[in-house]
Structure formats: C-alpha cells, structure tokens
Symmetry: C2
Subunit: 349 residues, 2 copies
Amino acid sequence: MFQERKTSTPLEKLGEFGIIKYLTQDINYHQFSSIIGIGDDAAVLDFKENKILVSTDLLIEGIHFNLAYTPLKHLGYKAVVVNISDIYAMNAKPTQITISIAVSNKFSLESLNEFYVGIKMACKHYKIDLIGGDTSSSNFGMIISMTAIGSAYQKDIVLRKGAAPNDLLVVSGDLGAAYLGLQILKREYEVFKTNPHIQPEYGGYEYVIQRQLKPEAPNKILSIFNTVDVKPSSMIDISDGLASEVLQICDMNNLGCRLFEGKLPIDPQTQLACEDLQLNPSIAVLSGGEDYELLFSISLKDYEKIKYQDYFSVIGYMTYLEEGAKIITKEGQLVSITAQGWDAFLKHA
Amino acid sequence: MFQERKTSTPLEKLGEFGIIKYLTQDINYHQFSSIIGIGDDAAVLDFKENKILVSTDLLIEGIHFNLAYTPLKHLGYKAVVVNISDIYAMNAKPTQITISIAVSNKFSLESLNEFYVGIKMACKHYKIDLIGGDTSSSNFGMIISMTAIGSAYQKDIVLRKGAAPNDLLVVSGDLGAAYLGLQILKREYEVFKTNPHIQPEYGGYEYVIQRQLKPEAPNKILSIFNTVDVKPSSMIDISDGLASEVLQICDMNNLGCRLFEGKLPIDPQTQLACEDLQLNPSIAVLSGGEDYELLFSISLKDYEKIKYQDYFSVIGYMTYLEEGAKIITKEGQLVSITAQGWDAFLKHA
C-alpha cells in the first residue's frame, strides 16, 4: 500500500509548462463536446441544446487526505470520483474535468506522474475528458482543486429541492465503509510508525480500505433510474455523512423526515471493522462521510418500481417540517438528527 | 493599505454551510445562462447554441500573494480578474465563476467576508455570476481556486494557435506596472517590519500599486476588436510576463518572432519606480507578470485598422521558426528571449 520510489526528477528541472506537457502528453478525449482541451487560455466545449452542470471541489493534504497512507495513484483516481459524483447527483452525466494542483518542490516528477496516472485511469473509466488545470508550487502540502462539467436534458435534472411529505428516502449502495477504511489505515499507520518492520494487517478489510482509497462514482445509479423509469423528486451526493445530507434535503425542502436505524445499509466488513475498533456502525453511517453514494427521495407511487433493486435501500420518508428530522433507533427511540450525528446518538446509544 | 480588524467571529461557530450561507446571501445573478447557482450539488447553465469556455486558476498564500500587504477585499477582486482574463484571451465573454477557498481557523468570518465583498464587486463590475464553490479549513495558509466559464460564437473564438509569419505582435495597455507595484509594496513592508511607526510611502506610485492590488481584466479590448472589425490570428493572456507569453505563441505556431525593446509600452510611473529601485524596465516587462493585458497577433493588412488605437502597441512581428524568438534592444543588439527573460538580458544589458 505504501508508496514506492524509483527515479526522481526534480520539478524545477522542467518548469510549469514542461510539467504540464509531460503529464498530459498521452491524454485522449472521449466526448464530442470537448472541442479544445489543454493548451490554451481556456478549453472550448459544445453542448448543443443540453444544459450544462458545473461543480467544484478542493482537497487539501492534512485535511482531506494523508500521503502517509494514500498512494498517489489512488488519490488521483479518488479526486476525479469525488468531483464527478456531484454531477451524477444532479442525474446528469459528467463529461469534462479540470484539475489544478499545488505541490512543494520536494515532489518529484515521477510522483506527480503517479497522481496523473490515477486521474487518467478514472477519466478513462468514466469517459471524462481532462480539459485543463493549473499547476503551482506550494510552500506547504499538496492541494488539489477540481471542477467537473457535465450535461443533461432539462427534463432529467434532479435538484436537492423537490421532495414532498411522504416521499420515500432511498440510498444507493452501502454506507460507512470508507470511514472505517480510514480508521483501519490510521491504526496500521500508527503501528508502522512505532515499528516500521511490522507489516500492516489489512486482511479481511480489503473492501472498506478500497472504499476509502479508491471509491467509485455512482454512475450505475443513473442507468437504474433509466431502466426502472423513475425520476427522484430530490437527490444529493453522500460525501459528508448521511446525517448532513439528510438535513440538507430537509432544509432545502422545508420538510422533516423519519429515518429507520435498522434500515441503514451496512456492509458485513464495515460491521466487523466497527466491532474491531469498538465503533457504533450507525454513527459511522451518519457521520463518516466519503461514501459517494446518492441519497434521493421518490414518490410513494414509484416504490413498486424500485423495491426489487438490490442496490437501493429505502431508509425512511419525508415528513412535514413540524415533525423535525429524526431517526427511529432499533430500540424504537426517536432521536433528533444533527449535522455531526455523533452527539445526539452518543447521548442515547 | 494594511488590514483593519473590527469584530471577529470564529469560523467554527458557523460550520461550512453556515459560512457559505452567510457569504453568499446577497448574491445577484446577471446572466440569462445561469439557471441554478449556489446551493445544489452542481450549478446548471444554458448557453443555447454558443460554445462554452472553461478556465481554472490557483492562488496560494506565500506563492501568489502575501496577506501582509494585500487587503482581502482587493485579493477577492483580483482573484476574479486573474481567472476571467483567460476567457477574454479567447475573445469570449466570461459569464460565470466558481470560487473555492481554504483558510485556517485563525481567519474570522469578517475577514472572509471582506474577501467575498471583493469577489462580489468584481462580479458586479464584469457582470459575472458566482455559481458555486467549496470551502475548507487549511492547516497552512489561504488557498483560492477559481474556475471561470464563458461563452462565444464559434466564429469569434481566438486561440493561441493561428499566427502566420509577418503577422504583427500587439499588446494592450502598458506592461510591468504590477511587478513594480509589488516591489514597492515589499519595500514599504520591510520598512514597516523594522519600525511599525513609520507610515508607508506610496506617494507617486498609486498607479503601479493599483495594478498590483486591484488589476482589471481586458474586457474593453473585445469591444475595440468589434469596433475596428479586427479578429486577431492568435491571442494569449499576459500573466507570467511578456517573454513567457511570446514564447508560448511561438511554440504553439511553430514560428519565431522579433520584438523591439523600444516599442514595449511602459507607463511613466513604472519607469520612475524602476529608477527608484534600480531595475531595468524592459526586464520588468518581459519577466514581471500579472499584467492581465492581452498579447495578440494580427494580419499585416489589419494594421491600418488599429494604428490609431492608443490602447494597442505594435511591439514586433512573427517570423519563421528558423529565425528564433528574439528581441532587438534599443542599442540594436539581437538577444534571444528566454522564459525568465532575466538571464539573457542581464548578460547583454
């Protein structure tokens, strides 16, 4: 897992334009809408009659990632996923991305290239075009800024606003795994720091670690919507933890909600890691974050269409504002959902 | 010039969503193409049949700016200008911008708001819509990442590629002023550090300091092109110093060029500051940067159309590749242009 170093070319040898040329020499474009990509003052795109979606994200070393246990190739891949997930969350297709990075001069060209290999892998996988960026030196750590662009027909776009009382709340995939993956990586890194000869133990935790280091964007969900002919009434990307996203949906729609703790989708490996680390799985789901799944609401009448979709879990429903945003615990208690999730839960759990 | 502090609200009091709500509460939109702005996973735009331009920039404390002598309001304004200049450099109109920032917890809400006041001033002045962004904490300094979006008819877009031998090289405005402004600010800051009771002396340097702290984007140049009915054969934003941009144009077109040192447009105040600081004005122009003017090439036949435009200076012409990229000094010497500009010039000057 930990980074290997081979040859090491100092960045100052190439200069900014040399670095960009080197890193982007083998970039292929997948989208008809990419008219001009990297190499001019701006990229040029053409979306014909479609609407255009734009979303931007910032990843900062020490805040969002730790290079001690994050291989650069994975980080590049994840950066793309983090950013395009926001476009999928509008029920739209991401088509282009720009990536700006700042690194200290201690970075070699080879390690920067590792990062770009990951970016290009993700671009290939999701058929996204890398159309621009900016590189800079940094006095501190590594900084990554990305902007994703996508397109959709007006009629398909799903906003955070649009949910109605009694709409069902549904999530894709399973939740909490990425957070547990991070806890396992942190634990093994602490062991490694104490004694670098001890090999990290990841056996049995491959899935949660993969969810942390190499998450995937919720692209298949859009094709499920298409297949079952459902358009959600509202939708949001799960990046900050389920609690935060549920509260956003409530807030945008002036509604309350009821979640069922027993309905939260948790992978057995996440469950196991929680036992190992003595964490409450529901708290990991509510407050962990980095799931890159989707939370959406659908009209009750659409329930029949999605009920056999293994990939979807109905976790609750929308209520009127007065009823508040609450979760019904496995023991039947009614607990308020807070942005952190932790406090309220800890008091009652 | 130096920052005043009034009330000071810690950022952690509001949380990320609270901060965004506070900072963006009074944002107005100017563009018909902005369908949905801040507040969802992505913004939604509609450009009808027009082409879309995208450009992105990163500004990092300690590398691109120093908060010791950069008021936050000016920094916000400048961030917008830096980013939209790239869109103007395509002969296109910027229409939207996203701004992501990371700051340490030492920043107060009030100082962050100062930064946003500057952003909003620039958005109002240039009729740009702020449609998104990301805020994050930072363990180090302040980080600003911006993506500008613009639109244009296909027929109007001017790329870096397109120049032919004998095309004239033209620049807008005057060059080198922002670099001298920075040198004056640095000098006064050194004095201030030694003795905080000495007031900084900016008398006579208002213009160069303004060019550094509150530059303007080259929007009026597009209307001049329109008025005189000229479409440049190639164009680039002057942000890294004239030498670097000239070499980019040569490189993209597989051509050489000749510049005339005596034709470089330099403001009298820049000239004066150079004497004061014992700097070579031509070096400031070639290597200083942050001018946010445009360098473009036009066909010889268009010369008559622009020759009475005070705002334009013909500084040279394109040649075949074999002739190299060179500048003819005031003394008649032929000197190679290098990306830094400094070295070659210092050897000969």
